[in-house]
Symmetry: C2
Subunit: 239 residues, 2 copies
């Protein structure tokens, strides 16, 4: 028999199990099945011991067929189970491929609810105690990614905001720094690089725009790169 379930697209937040929302945690504990990303941590999955777990991990840059398969698994899960959770690292609506999953589910008439999450940029700002906006200094922030897909063009220009946050930054942020310098941004502009944000193995590096243009150590986990005057360390800020 086919039951028609409901699908919850839930933002897991940056990684720490207690940085999911109260609503997200409650729904996880009620889920029949949980389809989760590569970015979702084992601590987070401990919140749904009752659920059937399906790993749909994929890394950026992989072919879109992977996404088609995830869409299909979501639809099939909703046809078999009552409460289906699609758990995504960060927030589902920001670099989460939610559009494609929503379309696939809506085309089958399946009910969907979205539960927002703490996006990694804000968890990184919290972890480094570095606000992304600052009165009189920074009143606009851009979140962006570089394309790694062969079918997508690179952005013509970088966002001209006061603060820039590059998701899935890593080595691609080196090119960003070079372009920002060419656009006339100051070489001593503060840069904060955070790897494995909010997890036990979190690493924070503070550098300048010209340092970043010169290169970046290889990372072993997801990396976020934050650039802007707002990220300058404060006088009495503990390190």
């Amino acid at each position: 028999m086919t039951v028609q379930g409901k699908v919850y697209l839930i933002g897991a937040g940056p990684g720490a199990a207690d940085l999911i929302t109260v609503r997200g945690a409650r729904l996880l504990a009620q889920a029949d099945v949980v389809l989760y990303d590569a970015l979702v941590t084992p601590e987070m999955l401990a919140l749904c011991p009752q659920a059937q777990l399906i790993s749909v991990g994929k890394r950026s840059g992989q072919r879109s067929t992977a996404q088609t398969l995830i869409n299909q698994q979501l639809v099939e899960s909703a046809q078999r189970h009552r409460t289906v959770v699609r758990l995504k690292g960060g927030d589902p609506m920001l670099f989460g491929r939610a559009d494609e999953e929503l379309r696939a589910l809506e085309a089958e008439g399946i009910e969907v609810e979205v539960v927002p999450g703490v996006t990694t940029a804000l968890a990184a700002a919290a972890a480094t105690k570095q606000p992304l906006t600052r009165r009189g200094v920074a009143r606009s922030v851009a979140f962006f990614t570089s394309s790694t897909a062969p079918d997508e063009p690179q952005h013509p220009a970088l966002p001209a905001t006061d603060t820039l946050v590059q998701y899935m930054g890593g080595r691609e942020a080196i090119a960003t720094a070079t372009r920002l310098l060419a656009e006339g941004r100051r070489p001593d502009l503060p840069v904060v690089v955070i790897e494995n944000c909010s997890r036990a193995d979190q690493r924070i590096a503070r550098l300048t725009l010209s340092d970043l243009a010169g290169g970046l150590e290889a990372a072993h986990g997801p990396v976020l790169v934050m650039i802007g005057e707002a990220l300058r360390q404060r006088l009495h800020q503990p390190t």
Copy 2:
């Protein structure tokens, strides 16, 4: 006797009591004193019935002396109590004046921890089921505000990102729309306006950039304005 407490800057999220993080809710339940914003809802304060509540509500556009007073109240609270929570609507590090509070506390050697929250833009994306990024369509998002402070200049240019989100938008978003049209953005670009996001009296309006340039109904609560091709309604999207 003076005790030296610890201050937690906590993001309450958009308003619904279960859209705070699990960590934020736990710390609220342990707080001796909670200093809260005008944007924090009564449901949220029900999470800390044991705490002394101090309203430090101020609306944007008020003088900065108000912020000086909040800083002073924070320092004094930390000198008298062990666990002090500074609860802010949305996320503390995005348009939250966190820089000023961190400086004031650090100058007194008071320990501070920041707990991130769901920023309203992402809750609005979830509530409207409208992702802010979309493969092949939108890969950059800017969050910005217009200045209402007399001592701050207006931004020279609007962020040239695929998606734009204006915080504390309301009537100021009308000027944004006019400027975007002048910059050559399409008049039929989708716009979503959300008032009192995630609360019982949430209101959503869908319009176009040229509609927005023509005016916006007066709002009674906090308003967020989202603009961009990613916000176009999907074929089978329920309204």
